[in-house]
């Protein structure tokens, strides 16, 4: 295996709705920042890969517009995943492992504000036979999962509110967060349900942002970063598509992904100082903490998705934030998790480490 590290990370502010910038305009300054921070030029990038979703953009091959911000003139090695951009990072990591090049630029664009009504869009992501005809509310499947998790004793409405309070408090240190502040649990619990037992604060606020991670291999990584955040292990797995087949209180795909990532990394999650988890709903923190067997790690010091969820950029931001903690010397080992699909259907785990 080659040693591959995150050497740079940048993101735009999470906004509820960016009505000023088109896709390329959101992305260009973020790429500039990430490339500048790595001390490289565009010509030094060997591979470009991105993640986004046409469901959010409302047109096919929508990400093509973002390539105007990349300098995508042939010859270029370029790819895209129709998913969270954390999966694009997985592709870049594999590409670097093949030895085709030394530096990869990964970006995610998430514009959750473009669909006028997510209740129209979410059913299109479900199977057309049994689920889509029911036109479930966007948070209905998550509500089923939250209720089951409470019944299983994993969390409670109070516990979920406490997760939100902790995340929004942490986000006061994150100027790019969409939501932050000091709130109290009792006040949160006074709010009405959106999809019981979920209240508005339990649902990660959807919005718009772009994120960019620069990966580099071996000597290039050592040259570009004072303290590279080495990707020691990375794996992604998925559970079956139909939620009714699953026990929603567990996440076998996360368990399997972290097992494989730990095997590659040579350390386990009990050695991890911080964990950035892609919690689209507050109750998922308990399910993920169990599946990942986290033990004492600080969870979502950036505030996490409950402080801002720019849809398909959200998972990549977890990796960028976890890497930042290592590069800044706040952590020696970190875990980043990303998810895609309904109720934690697909999961990715990335284990990072700084030089000792």
């Amino acid at each position: 295996m080659r040693d591959v590290a995150v050497v740079s990370f940048a993101q735009s502010p999470c906004q509820a709705a960016n009505r000023r910038d088109d896709m390329a305009d959101i992305l260009l300054p973020v790429i500039r920042e990430a490339v500048y921070a790595a001390g490289i030029g565009r010509d030094d990038v060997d591979f470009v890969v991105s993640g986004s979703h046409d469901f959010y953009e409302g047109r096919t091959f929508s990400y093509i517009e973002s390539l105007d911000a990349v300098g995508a003139w042939p010859p270029i090695s370029e790819s895209h995943v129709e998913s969270d951009a954390a999966w694009a990072l997985a592709e870049a990591w594999s590409w670097l492992q093949l030895g085709e090049g030394d530096i990869a630029l990964v970006y995610g664009i998430g514009r959750g504000s473009l669909p006028a009504d997510l209740d129209q869009v979410v059913p299109a992501q479900l199977d057309p036979y049994f689920l889509a005809p029911l036109a479930p509310h966007r948070d209905a499947i998550a509500g089923l999962q939250a209720h089951a998790a409470i019944e299983a004793g994993l969390t409670s409405e109070q516990g979920m509110a406490e997760v939100v309070v902790r995340c929004l408090d942490a986000a006061t240190g994150n100027p790019l967060a969409q939501r932050s502040g000091q709130v109290d649990v009792a006040r949160l619990l006074d709010a009405p349900y959106v999809s019981s037992p979920l209240r508005e604060h339990d649902v990660a606020p959807i919005g718009d942002a772009a994120a960019v991670v620069v990966l580099a291999a071996d000597d290039a990584a050592r040259r570009l970063a004072e303290r590279p955040a080495w990707v020691r292990g990375l794996d992604h797995r998925m559970d079956t598509h139909y939620p009714g087949v699953r026990d929603l209180t567990t996440s076998p795909s996360t368990r399997r992904a972290v097992g494989r990532a730990a095997e590659l990394a040579g350390f386990t999650t009990s050695d991890v100082d911080i964990a950035e988890l892609h919690t689209e709903y507050s109750h998922q923190e308990a399910i993920l903490t169990n599946a990942l067997e986290l033990n004492g790690a600080v969870v979502n010091p950036s505030g996490g998705p409950l402080a801002g969820r720019p849809v398909t950029a959200t998972g990549l931001i977890r990796i960028g934030e976890a890497a930042r903690q290592i590069r800044d010397g706040n952590a020696d080992r970190a875990l980043a998790h990303a998810t895609s699909g309904q109720a934690l259907q697909q999961n990715l785990v990335c284990l990072l480490e700084g030089d000792g």
């Binding site: 709705a17 960016n18 009505r19 000023r20 910038d21 088109d22 390329a24 305009d25 260009l28 565009r42 953009e57 409302g58 047109r59 390539l67 105007d68 911000a69 300098g71 995508a72 003139w73 514009r111 504000s113 473009l114 669909p115 006028a116 009504d117 129209q120 869009v121 059913p123 299109a124 057309p128 036979y129 889509a132 005809p133």
Partner: protein
């Protein structure tokens, strides 16, 4: 044996907001005033019409907008002769790439007020704008392009 279900209704309706961005907005706002606003890249001297906010080759912000009169030549065209749902005009009609004088890019639009068989690559054309009350931040502010004759000869 159970007969397989071969069809089922799947009625989706999804409404979206499109964000034009600052670059496109310059162009679209110009159209509402019968003005074609172009922008030049100082790095490669490409003149974009319509202009984005920055040059996708040089990745630098484009220079301030300036107006072109819209006269140009047909750089390529095809004759649409097939009817389809949602079609606005009866076929056959000419869809063309217009190369406006002073622009480095081409604008797609209709060429009318001429028989399709008389259209040719290199033909000089000019925009025909809609009436004041129909003007909008849309390419439909140009109704179509039509041949223009400079003393009887093509430009």
């Amino acid at each position: 044996m159970t007969e397989p279900i071969t069809t089922m209704p799947s009625p989706f309706r999804m409404d979206y907001t499109y964000v034009a961005g600052t670059g496109r907005s310059v162009f679209l706002r110009g159209l509402a005033e019968r003005r074609l606003m172009a922008r030049c890249c100082a790095g490669c001297e490409q003149v974009y019409l319509p202009p984005p906010e920055f040059c996708s080759r040089c990745l630098r912000e484009l220079e301030p907008p300036f107006e072109l009169d819209g006269r140009g030549v047909v750089s390529t065209f095809c004759v649409v002769s097939f009817p389809f749902p949602g079609q606005r005009i009866d076929p056959p009609y000419v869809v063309a790439h217009i190369q406006p004088h002073g622009a480095g890019t081409r604008l797609m639009h209709l060429v009318r007020e001429v028989e399709p068989e008389d259209v040719h690559i290199g033909m000089a054309v000019e925009p025909v704008w809609v009436s004041d009350d129909e003007l909008d931040t849309s390419l439909l502010s140009i109704r179509h392009f039509r041949p223009v004759h400079y003393g009887g000869a093509d430009a």
